[in-house]
Subunit: 389 residues, 2 copies
């Protein structure tokens, strides 16, 4: 386990006099151990005495398990075991009971809302109906809700996280290239999305990527008018002189990028170019301000004012950005109007202004992932944006 | 809303004297309304007085909303609303309060475990941390847990469901063909999986499919030895004379198929053929028994005994099948040893025996989706299986 993460967990434990923290949501396990579960049924018990144990189902692949931590198995998926959860909860209680941790409450996040999927993303993890009740009963001293402290863990990416995040962004670079290569009249949105998915998935097994998957969503022409409300791919066929928006999450080994580019099939009108340039310039202006100590609301305001002054403010209807990295949308203060969050070293945020609507018959969004450094920022997704070249 | 579904809901409401049922998990909404949510943040309140209301976020695409039901919106995703959930919960309480439903408890399923993803499958729905507490407080008469009755709703597919399920299986047929077409020495597992994903996704917008996505997992050669523990795709390159397993979920418009085929790159050994044929014959034997009134445990036993007698029983380590259709794995009694579940008309079950292990340097599974009819069964996934031709 990473030393910095241990220190962060220990700090929460000491501050709230806890016996243990239980991490079970797929992205918490990436955050804590760099480990993306296959089944989404793994439980990290990080103990007060700094001797954590990771419980995994028997069916979990051995080669994805993290090193340098004690691992215990429980018989989920074992046809001979009628109640694998009873076995797990008994093992968990045993661990808490044996080390004097019972004198303190445990804590964990109760809600699975917004978390990243496990590797089997076609289905949510088969967690038992009484999971929360069982976890609440782990310690004789009950439960202490420190959700806010646990959510703050998502805000900081350390050196090891950044190394993994750079790999995701290398893979995403190829996906973006594939997007531009496929912006041809006659291609459907679905064909472009599929080509991007293929580009990313075929990176599996290369350059240290043991899991590589993208969720690209393509909105072309008038479909992009709804890009400020939802992102999706349809069967619409691309036409001449229109702009196409790619919204994409990419996951490599459990780490995430969230990137949006807008391209064109063939030469677009001056009005369309003006909209593109307004979004691009607003984004670049916001990024140029990002460094430790700057208020998030001020970054948002800079981009928003720029778009307002260009006359498109009424078509820009969402926040400027959010934390990203352990999942598609990490929790935490956002770049949004009035946000009092303050940028700090190690934060990774999206910066994604947009202009959309039937009024302009389409939409443009440009989104990058920006890492706050000691004295400024680094754009991890610094790929060429074609309309801006 | 479908009349049969209304009757099923009314029966539960009357039997347990409830004021309303709340359906919120993505697959419950498919089951109830044939509606797969975009954001996974939609709430169907099915009321005692048979006047249901569907609450959806403002950002939900209008064109996927079901007809024939009252729809109300809440301001999730609206940058001008500080607390969209407060607005929703207030609307929900208002609905329950106004129609005298308050005199009765409400019910819903508390757990999101195992549910299907929403259309944005790269992330779980951004549900609020206090969702369960808020829903528990909807009625002054509290909550009545009728989870078992609600889970039983997954067991029966009606005529309208079957029409939708047939469309999924038409799309899956093309995916299976793509699988066989790509079983070439030199292709990686990831390339095959990607080709299948592309085949399915490009059906978006055709034949009434407004959402089409597959999660294929390819295990080739020795990798398939782990096919009884987990399914995943790696970068492994296919070699001569080996067998390749495809495990796949396919979702079209919210309805699911779960299919496994095993193919070969080039001529395999007699021993490999024997294993394939054993699995295939065990599967066909099980399917031949399936009709209303038959015990699920007996179907499992037939396939298991067949594999045992062929000498491979110790390499077959999982249940024979499960319900499917509203998600990748619907809840309910399984085809497994000792299962006392009884087959009934309208049930859709997978039948998927397998033999795997390092002892045979690989694995074979064959899986079909079998609909129980009035006097027998219908295999919805009745595609050619190449080794068996």
């Amino acid at each position: 386990m990473n030393v910095q993460k241990r220190l962060m967990f220990q700090q929460i434990i000491k501050q709230h006099s806890l016996g243990a923290l239980v991490f079970w949501r797929p992205d918490e396990l990436v955050l804590a151990l760099g480990y993306m579960p296959q089944w989404g049924l793994s439980f990290l018990v990080y103990t007060r005495d700094d001797a954590p144990v990771l419980f995994v189902p028997e069916l979990e692949p051995d080669d994805i398990l993290p090193g340098n931590i004690e691992i215990r198995k429980f018989p989920w998926g074992n046809i001979n075991c009628a109640d694998p959860w009873k076995d797990l909860f008994s093992q968990l209680k045993d661990l808490i009971g044996k080390r004097g941790l019972n004198k303190y409450p445990v804590s964990f996040i109760k809600n699975i809302g917004g978390t990243a999927p496990c590797r089997m993303s076609g289905e949510q993890p088969h967690l038992p109906y009484d999971l929360i009740e069982q976890l609440l009963g782990l310690s004789d001293s009950g439960f202490n809700d420190v959700t806010n402290d646990l959510l703050k863990l998502y805000l900081y990416k350390n050196e090891e996280d950044v190394r993994c995040l750079k790999l995701v962004h290398e893979v995403a670079a190829m996906a973006i290239q594939t997007f531009y290569n496929n912006l041809k009249v006659g291609n459907s949105e679905a064909i472009i999305a599929s080509a991007i998915e293929m580009e990313v998935q075929t990176m599996t097994g290369k350059n240290g990527a043991h899991f590589a998957k993208a969720w690209p969503l393509i909105q072309s022409g008038v479909n992009a008018a709804f890009g400020g409300r939802f992102n999706r791919t349809t069967g619409r066929i691309l036409e001449e002189s229109e702009m196409i928006m790619l919204e994409m999450s990419v996951c490599v080994n459990g780490y995430w990028a969230d990137i949006t580019h807008t391209g064109q099939t063939s030469v677009v009108s001056d009005h369309q170019k003006k909209i593109f340039n307004t979004v691009f310039e607003a984004q670049q202006l916001a990024i140029s301000m990002m460094k430790p100590g700057v208020k998030m609301g001020e970054v948002d305001a800079a981009a928003r004012t720029y778009i307002d002054k260009a006359g498109f403010g009424h078509l820009y209807n969402h926040a400027l950005g959010h934390h990203v990295g352990f999942r598609y949308h990490d929790p935490g203060p956002t770049l949004s109007p009035g946000s009092v969050g303050v940028l700090e070293e190690g934060m990774l945020l999206t910066v994604e202004p947009g202009i959309y609507g039937m009024e302009i018959n389409g939409g443009v969004r440009i989104e990058d992932n920006v890492l706050i450094t000691a004295d400024g920022c680094l754009v991890l997704s610094d790929y060429p944006k074609w309309l801006s070249i």
